[in-house]
Amino acid sequence: MGALQGRALTAAPPLLDVRGLRVAYGPTMALNALDLSVEAGELFVLLGGSGSGKTTLLRTIAGFLRPAAGSIRLRGEPIDALPPHRRPVNTMFQSYALFPHMSVADNIAFGLRSAGLGRRARAARVAEMLDLVQLGGFGRRRPQELSGGQQQRVALARSLAPRPALLLLDEPLSALDPSLRDATRSELMRVQQLLGTTFILVTHDQEEALTMATRIGVMQDGRLAQSGPPAEVYERPGSRFVAEFLGAANILRATVEAASNAGTTLDVAGVGRVQARAAPFRTGASCLLGLRPERLRIGTNATIGGNQASGTLASSAYAGDTLRHTVQLANGASLRVAEPLASGIRGHHLREGTAVTVSWERDACILLPP
């Protein structure tokens, strides 16, 4: 935190600085006093469910929606008052919104014309962008003659051609076949790193967010519930919502028995005593214990890491890479456990109804406010 503040005093302002943004749709607040700061060169991923306000935020930054309150600054300059066509921000639309009556080259050149580039400069930039997205030779085609993946790349080239300070991508992969998404994901990251353009990408796909982002922002009810590097947000979610939205989590009620700098001892309902990392909870406070299913081990007696819970195996479901168990605890609560199938399904021997022990390491404990 100290390092961050020090930089804020000496270095240039962040590329994008959003403060106290409120956007209303009639009586409902789509964005509610939202703060967001994005540094130049980042690939910031906004993750949230439908109705969380992530697309609203993107459209407000682009200028299509008028905020009721708050400010949006780009490189320190307020852009709130500018209409969309005067903002140095481009959008890649979810539907791509390619102009069907224009060739691919004319689509890409559209923003360059607005910028006042001459014919030659336009042609050169179009060729450069086509090469960048590996569509050289496709300039004369019409968008509807291309495959979905090719259209997606044209949309990317078109929005990047005017060299925007900031590119907003609204669910850029959602219209693609799942088989294409992996390749396109790395393609987007390659282009972003090559050009060094700052991306803000909206998605509801957590895997997309975790693999692509330099930082993730989790949206909840028109606010940023938490933001940080993917591993930090996943490993140390700040709230029950974030823990359950990003990845899966078992949530158990707990009371702090003892708290010190060395660690925290919890009394967990249905489990008993659990050792966790040091956490900002006082002795006697109630809290929630979050446990990710893939961090739990299951067996008839095997234990790892010292924490364990006993229960009955209620059900097991085969999910290809894992077996997904549900374990019923003594107090009726249940734990979900994902057992990796390192050696396939054949070695598996647990039967439904048998007594099992679930165990986990100290660092697997996620302590959350109630």
Partner: protein, 283 residues
């Protein structure tokens, strides 16, 4: 069932399009006579034995020889063209405004634009007569503004005729243009703005070109019926406005020259159907 589905429209077209055309063609090649109907039958059985064919090409010869018909036709085409353009100039902005209105307003606004169409046609024309005659509101307002010399009325002028036609046919232009505009992805206009296009450039380079199919449909839907329009020029236009519709009416009812009237009507139908068919095929 499937055969019935094809048979029904075929029967309908036969009864309402082909049969009348055949009857028209028969009359157009007959000789006029004083009887009822006022033309001689094509086959004359009076001689006994084999019938005598009494076809005549007189009507067609006169059609070419007398410049009167060609002038009326050209005049009608001009009126239809100007009316179609007028409907476009009024209808396009109207359709665009309705498309861009808040969602809840679109249906009521469209309804208002179409509402006049649902009142009686002659009623509307008579309303215009009331407004445009010398002591009518519109003429009075123009008198007061000094735009129309006193003692003159708008009624029975070309302006009144155009006003009447454009008002009557406006829905035909608004509907296809609105249908086209409302189906355009709003993201396209947003993308244009996002890429730095001013609202005007966005309209000229994206919205307008993409709405052209609606524009062509609207122009055709106004132009085609306006060519044969008879009532409005008759009731609102001046006596000099000799449209092809008026000519047909006069030949039928004033001159009782059915073959001549039929010949003119056939030429008009051919003139309107052939280009439409060619356009269809070109697609």
């Amino acid at each position: 069932m499937r055969r019935l589905a094809i048979l029904l429209p075929a029967a309908w077209l036969l009864a309402t399009v082909l049969a009348p055309l055949v009857i028209l063609a028969t009359i157009a090649t007959a000789t006029p006579s004083d009887g009822v109907p006022p033309y001689a039958p094509l086959l004359d059985w009076s001689g006994g034995g084999l019938p005598r064919v009494t076809a005549s090409a007189d009507a067609w010869q006169l059609l070419v020889a007398d410049g009167y018909y060609l002038r009326a036709l050209l005049f009608s085409l001009r009126i239809a063209a100007i009316s179609a353009l007028g409907c476009l100039l009024v209808g396009y902005p109207l359709a665009l405004a309705i498309t861009r209105a808040p969602a809840g307003w679109r249906a009521p606004l469209l309804l208002l634009a179409l509402l006049p169409f649902w009142t009686g046609f002659l009623l509307r024309i008579n309303a215009w007569i009331g407004l445009l005659k010398e002591d009518g509101w519109v003429s009075a307002a123009l008198h007061a503004a000094g735009l129309l010399p006193p003692g003159r009325a708008l009624l029975y002028t070309d302006a009144a005729m155009y006003l009447g036609i454009i008002h009557a046919y406006l829905p035909f232009a608004v509907l296809p243009i609105y249908a086209r505009l409302s189906r355009l992805d709003p993201a396209l206009a947003e993308a244009a703005a996002d890429l730095g296009a001013t609202p005007l450039r966005s309209f000229l380079t994206v919205t307008l070109p993409l709405s052209m199919p609606g524009v062509w449909a609207g122009l055709a839907l106004v132009f085609i019926p306006a060519v044969g329009e008879y009532v409005i020029p008759e009731l609102l236009g001046g006596p000099q406005a000799q449209t092809i519709g008026r000519v047909i009416w006069q030949e039928f009812f004033a001159n009782r020259d059915w073959p001549q009237a039929s010949a003119v009507a056939l030429v008009l139908v051919a003139l309107l159907v052939l280009p439409a068919a060619l356009v269809q095929r070109a697609r």
